[in-house]
């Protein structure tokens, strides 16, 4: 049986977009109940970590 692959998409200067089947656990090891897509902060500046809150635009994240 071929399972659907999870996709991790690096949005330029922005977050990591995740689609497909996944289970996400927070820093405390607890499962975070989130449906796809999720946008994970990559710039380090979000006030809603681990998720994106568009802070990358304000701080000029470019990677």
């Amino acid at each position: 049986m071929e399972n659907e692959k999870t996709l991790f998409q690096l949005l330029p200067g922005g977050p990591l977009k995740v689609t497909g089947p996944f289970q996400i656990k927070g820093p405390d090891g607890k499962i975070i109940d989130k449906r796809e897509p999720v946008y994970l902060c990559r710039c380090g500046g979000s006030s809603n970590k681990p998720f994106c809150d568009a802070t990358h635009k304000r701080i000029g994240f470019s990677k």
Partner: protein, 167 residues
């Protein structure tokens, strides 16, 4: 007695031994010290990634005898010989791939996003990046090996906490 898949790595001072058959993928090593233990890289152990003291500290936390260490002056002749043999092909550390479990995403406290399972990574130019079944993405914004974690979060004191002043 010795498994041909076993490996050893040295920084000149100590040698770390890896016995894949004893690995239960507790993931302690790479969660604690991705700069040294990075299953997405070959070789997966980089002995230059941290101080000897720190490497010993993490190896000691391995819940099985899959990772052990020794001072180089205590190596047997056989172990010394194995160190010189760099031609061996490495196994991939055990991961969740091959199981039907959904891809696991772990947000490490004040650290990276550790991803394990069956997945693809799409880069900024819509190209697929090097396939792997286990990797860690930078979350602090300062890695010099984007999009992957290189341990910089520790140097810059990255934290999950939101700054109190909000700016």
């Amino acid at each position: 007695m010795t498994d041909p898949r076993d490996r050893q790595y040295t920084n000149g001072e100590i040698t770390v031994f890896w016995v894949p058959s004893k690995c239960i993928h507790a993931t302690t090593c790479f969660r604690e010290l991705i700069e040294v233990f990075n299953p997405g890289r070959r070789p997966w152990v980089n002995m230059e990634g941290a101080t000897t003291r720190r490497i010993i500290e993490v190896v000691n936390k391995c819940p099985t005898q899959s990772l052990v260490w020794k001072y180089n002056k205590d190596l047997t002749e056989e172990e010394r010989k194995a160190l010189r043999d760099v031609s061996k092909v490495e196994e991939t550390p055990k991961t969740l791939s091959g199981t039907n479990a959904p891809t696991s995403i772990r947000i490490m406290k004040d650290g990276p996003i550790v991803v394990e399972g069956k997945f693809a990574i799409i880069g900024a130019e819509n190209q697929e990046l090097k396939p792997t079944s286990l990797t860690s993405f930078c979350r602090c914004g300062s890695s010099r090996n984007m999009p992957y974690c290189d341990g910089t979060h520790r140097k810059i004191g990255f934290t999950d906490q939101t700054p109190a002043n909000g700016e």
